[in-house]
Symmetry: D2
Subunit: 175 residues, 4 copies
């Protein structure tokens, strides 16, 4: 299974990145291949068109089975940097990718962000969001492990339920 | 597999209901049990508290594996009737339920509705939305069969992808 | 000036109502006419069509200069009862009405609600929202007076700025 | 009166820019000072911190009485470029600015965008949005003049109504 973490913080090596990496670790059984794309390392070509470097990153994300899109909360929603990366896709450019929105923020004032702003954006691109978005307030940093563990358990439960429903659907090839 | 269609149109037997029923038929292989709840039949107790009748309906929906929440577009979003039904749940009251938002509307002006308004509401309740919301414009009624078939195929593809990812997650019991 | 408070709590005489009434008192100079519509008193006909009683309430709100739409937070957004009342309007039914969205909630988790869910709904109906929505967490009840006073001051400042811009626009009659 | 148009299209001199400029022309009586900021000209420093050039642009926008934020529709919402510009503000950085959200798009599928995504973002920054966001579909280009004229008339009507309400509010200095 190919897993990617895309980090939308304009500053590299952020806490937001660490939170997303921890969620991957807690959510997945060993045996996956992980790539982390810290968009802070690629701001120079984010508005260049065409860009071989960005095209390769976009392709790598679109070919993933699971992607965590992680962003600090800027103005109650995801960063412009993350959006600029997603803007490079054509319509439906993340079709079939399972995507988990992750926001971090100072307190809970913007806790709705990943669910009401980033999740619909990912769905618009064709991605599938398996539940609520994950929000971490910095006041929770001391309980980071437990908070992320609980979120991982919730997503794992959701996946188990989705797999059951999947068995009852018509084969996509035939329908 | 237990499947439910919840219809939020204040008028019973609506086209919205028929559209949702057709999506169920196209999406699922035979062998499921289907219940249709036309909320128009239950407006008398929708604000009564407690209400045995409504409690039974709420429970039936929450115990379903898959639920289609179908609403005509009222003021660019789902109806107050559908929201009033969902308001009766406690926090996380649809945990683990797979839910597909379905809106119908006159034209495409409010096509974003099921994805940006109903899907986040269902996620807030703990439900899992496997992709974009489904929107049908009345101008598409003549191609209803093809349009719904294509949506069903997209959801079926999404479910197949989700089932793959599910195999790589930690067991919810252990994590 | 005609001012109306519409309260969407299914229970009458709520704290949400008191909060909205206090905001009116703090925001406006004496000399206005105030009507309070507690929708809890009108649930019996909210889905009846036609309904003389509801039609009169709808008309009264639409003829107001300023309306506060106040709702407790249910599932991260406004109540189904408030939405059911708004659903009775035709398209653009609140054209030209100045409207302030007010949500109350247990804590700040859903503080984005009035700005990202109720404000766009009111705008869809043609109303004009003069700034952010107002959110009050119950943990703020002891500082209620100061919190509401600050919100009133912010709206008053916004109105003063809007009045300046208004002077520079073309006359609506001529344009 | 100081008026600014901020254009979020990564390509300069876009149709989106022309549409926003036309709306300014139709909405305002002569006598205003207009600045147009085409963000496409400033992508090189949009993620640089600090940046004198960007700081000057941010300040100029924040000191305006009226700002039109204009963006083509990318993934159903505003561009990452526009968001990256807005991300440079501190909390409440557009306090008191009257702001009109303008989106252009291929058809009406994403017509809700300026009202449900850009307007709440501007409100979060403290700006005041005087009504719905303005959306123009490219299929309307032949009736551009009439469509923009009608939008201008609607905003002008809203401003006239807001000015009336402003007269009844407490003075912001005293309250």
């Amino acid at each position: 299974m190919k897993v990617t973490v895309v980090v939308g913080n304009p500053k590299p090596q952020s806490r937001t990145r660490k939170v997303a990496e921890l969620l991957v670790e807690k959510l997945l059984a060993p045996g996956y291949e992980l790539e982390v794309i810290d968009l802070a390392d690629h701001t120079d070509e984010i508005f260049a068109w065409p860009s071989e470097k960005l095209a390769a990153l976009n392709a790598s994300v679109a070919e993933s089975d699971l992607v965590l899109f992680a962003s600090p909360t800027y103005k109650a929603t995801y960063t412009g940097l993350l959006k600029a990366f997603l803007d490079r896709y054509p319509a439906n450019g993340l079709a079939g990718v399972t995507a988990i929105p992750v926001h971090t923020g100072a307190d809970f004032t913007h806790a709705m962000g990943p669910t009401v702003t980033l999740a619909p954006l990912l769905a618009e691109l064709g991605a599938i969001v398996p539940g609520r978005g994950f929000y971490l307030a910095l006041s929770q940093m001391e309980q980071l492990d437990e908070v992320v563990e609980q979120a991982a358990r919730e997503y794992a439960t959701n996946f188990a339920r989705l797999a059951l429903v999947a068995q009852g659907t018509t084969s996509p090839a035939h329908s």
